[in-house]
Structures are given as C-alpha cells and as structure tokens.
Point group: C2
Chain length 280, copies 2
C-alpha cells in the first residue's frame, strides 16, 4: 500500500511505531503527526517517527489519504467525527483502539459520503509510553483485528487490511462485539489481575518478589487513565470476565481447603496445557 500522505493522530508508542514502520517501508511520501504538545511532536520528528508535525487535527487529517487514530479509546470516536467532515471522498480513517464496539457504533452512519472508517486493533503494545519507545517492527508477525459490520465498506476494509499488512501484521476480521468479548478475556482481564496483584504487594515485601511476580504484574505499569477508559467501554464483557476469574480462584481455594489434591492437580494441569499451547 503506497500513499502520498498518512496522518497519525496521537504519536505515542503505537502511533510512533506506525510512523516508523511506514517510513521504514517507504509506505508514504509524507507522514504527519498530530498531537497536543508541540514538544512531544518535535521529539517524534527528531526521532524520525514522523515528517511533519501539526497541532491542527482536522487540517492534518484532511490532507491525508489515510489517517490512523492512536489516541485513548474514549477520544477516538469524537476525533474521527470531528475530522471526517472535511475529508475528501476516498479518505480512509482507521484507529488502533483496544475496544471496538463503542467506537464503531458511535462513528457508523455519521460519516460523509465517500469517507470510510474501519475499526482496527493491532495486538501489540507495551506498558511503556511515548514515541521514544516506538519500534519499526512492533507489528511484525503480530495480529491486527479489523472490524466488519453490515455498514462496513468492503473496499475500505481491504484498504485497511493492506495498510496493517504493509506494516508486517497479519489481519483478522471480526465483528466489534466479538472482538470486545474476546479481548475482555485475553487482554482486559489479565490487566485487571496484574493490577490487583500489584496493588496487594506491601512495599516491604518488594525484595521477596521474583520473576513470577514481576512477569505477572508487568502490564499493571500501564497508564491508569487509558485502561480505565478501556474497561468502561467494554464494561459488560469485562465484568463477565472478572466473574469467571473470581469463580476460578474460588475453585482453587475450595480444592486447597478440602485437601483435594486431585482437583488441585487437575486445575493446574489444565492451565499448564493451555499455557504451553501458547508458546513463550
């Protein structure tokens, strides 16, 4: 996929990695980065993540054939709608948000004719923030979920797929709701569990942690505001997932309490098989 201008709204870890990947692969003649702080944008340009900086989101998006919104999930829909009005027909708008149903639902049916939005979620990231942690290979070999609804334009979906594939990603098409239910289990719940564990650690026991605790709580260092917005946008599925986890922990406690070694072994063995199947 080759374009003249790509605009990235939100040049943090994800947006910055989109910029590095596109520029590294010659996917766009010009990459404009949009943000609220000129100092961050200038730093991103200095790092080679973007070519141009802009504080005027609508203007920068209007100048692009493709714009990708890499901002917090509770900002994306409003930003897309604010920018779409001025876009030329044929403009593709997409995003990198961790939730999809609320965003897609808020945008669909409200775009000018010929301007398309395709919800995307690259399953890549880190607890780190900022363009200084961006990586040209962040999406390589990873999966990006693209959403399709009854209103999705097939051609726009193909262009969005080509966009993420050009960054090295595989793509998978799901409905927004299917995405959100799955990610509640595979991403949002692990974040809550990590956060709950990290929050239980009395500071004086820090020295008694090893890799099990550190690996298990790593994502809890993620930005609280970003994650609170994700949980709120996917509330019902997250609450269902939390219930599953609490029930499962209750099963471990019951087995332990009853001295039921066979039940405990079965729980641990089932989980080990599931984890082994994932690979490292």
């Amino acid at each position: 996929m080759k374009m003249h201008t790509l605009t990235i709204v939100g040049v943090g870890l994800i947006g910055g990695s989109v910029g590095l990947a596109v520029k590294g692969r010659g996917g766009a003649a010009r990459v404009i980065g949009v943000g609220r702080k000129l100092s961050t944008l200038d730093e991103a340009r200095r790092l080679g993540v973007i070519d141009e900086v802009s504080l005027d989101m609508a203007d920068a998006v209007r100048r692009a054939e493709v714009a990708v919104f890499c901002t917090p999930v509770d900002h994306i829909a409003d930003q897309v709608l604010a920018c779409a009005a001025g876009c030329a027909p044929g403009t593709l708008l997409t995003d990198a948000g961790s939730t999809k149903a609320a965003i897609v639902g808020a945008v669909e049916g409200r775009l000018p004719r010929g301007v398309a939005f395709v919800g995307s979620h690259p399953l890549a990231g880190s607890e780190k923030r900022g363009p200084e942690h961006a990586r040209a290979d962040l999406f390589e070999g990873r999966l990006t979920v693209l959403t399709r609804t009854e209103r999705t334009d097939p051609e726009a979906l193909e262009r969005a797929a080509a966009f993420w594939q050009a960054l090295g990603s595989r793509v998978k098409v799901m409905s927004p709701e299917e995405h959100d239910r799955a990610l509640a289990l595979t991403s949002h719940l692990p974040h809550l569990a990590a956060s709950a564990l990290a929050g239980l650690l009395p500071p004086e026991l820090s020295e008694l942690t090893a890799s099990g605790f550190r690996d298990g709580t790593r994502v809890a260092a993620g930005d609280p505001a970003l994650w609170a917005a994700i949980f709120e946008q996917n509330r019902d599925a997250v609450l269902d997932a939390l219930r599953l986890l609490r029930d499962r922990l209750t099963a471990y406690a019951a087995a332990l309490n009853a001295g039921d070694r066979a039940a405990l072994d079965a729980l641990l063995t089932h989980a080990k098989r599931a984890r082994d199947a994932l690979g490292s």
Copy 2:
C-alpha cells in the same frame, strides 16, 4: 566458601544451577549429583553441571561436607532425615524449597548431634525444568532467604549464608513462618492467578493474546505437581492471599459496575505505583 565435596540432591533447573555456579567459581573440588534417573544424571554430568552421579542418596550425602536438597517441597524433610543419620558431625544440610515452615518443623529436633539443617529458599527459578536449563548465573544478584528458629545453630546459619553468597546471591534471614506468609503473596498467589487466567482461555482465542496475557500467565507453565505441593504446604497463608485477591477483584468490579471512575482510577493508580517501584 571452599569445600571438598558438595552433594546436590535433585539435579533439575535449581540443583543444576547450584552445580554450575559452584563449579564455575571453584567452590568445591567435587560435586556429586543425586537423582532417580541415571539418564538425567549422566546428561547433567555431560553438561558439566556435576562431576559424579549417584543413585544412592544417603551414601552421596554422607560423603559431602555440604548437601543441598533441590527436590519437591513435599520430599525434602523426609530426604534430609533419611540422610542425616549417616552424616559426620559438621555436615551442613540445606535446601532450596519454596516453602519453609513445614520442612523446618519436620526436620528440627530430629537430627544427630553435630549435623545441622538450615532452611533456604533462593528466589530464582523459571517455569522451565531440567539440568539443560541450568545457568551458572541463576543466583547472581538474587535473594536467598535463610530461616532461623530458636533451634538454629548460628554457625550453621553462617555457613549456609556463605554457601549462597558464594553463588552470587544476597541473603536475608527470616523465620520460616514469616517467609511462608510473605511468599504466599509474592510467589504462590501470582502463580495461582496466572494458572486461573491461563485456564480460562478458550483455545480458539489463543491468537488474540498478546504480551499482557503471555507475561501474565508465564509461570502457569510450571510443573503442576511441584506447585500443588507448595500450595498444600503453605495452605493457610495461600488461602488468605487468595481471599485478598478475590476481594480486590471484587473492588474493581464494584467500581466498574457503579461507573465510579474515580474509584477505578484510584485502584489502577495505586497498583501502577506499586509496580513501578519494583522496576522491570
């Protein structure tokens, strides 16, 4: 600490790493490895982890000045008692078990005069198993907990400290009960949470996992039998820790359910600070 003969009972990841570290630092003229399977022991000798192999645990321990038991926690006390009878006065027995109160309690007061046992727990390891994953630097910069009770011989405690320090470890002295309560939170609970999370993953969602899920569940690949024994030996503290985690998850659910963004932010922010304080 320099000795003629060190015997390692159980030459897996931990026992093998003790062997590599001692041999790499010239800490013993001879390292005997004891196990149940000759093929594993021969492999460990071929890898340079041990110098001699033995299937006769009591004999191999009798020939050493120091013996370290790196076997499952539910075997250690019986093995120590089975070997101690034939040991010369001055022999130091220690272990690497993840629980301490049950082991120390079962051994204390039952040793021949002049033979000492000091409970140890190096906070290092991996979900991997076997001497092929042993590393000479496994203990470097890590912490080893040594236990002290009213019956602990101060000179034996010093020798045990010198032993682990010679492998690059820092040491910290705690009571067995204090160790077990702390490790319930810092190690046993994270393992249960990882196991519960991994066990909830439907296989068809595997492709939708990313680093959050993978990091958060890594330890769930550990050996179920080893961990079931750890949980059973530390049952009360583990049940208390499980209760804390379930209550904390309930607090996240309540905040989310009530749409109480301030409460959700507070939970996430507190946890982030705790995790940030740990470093990577």
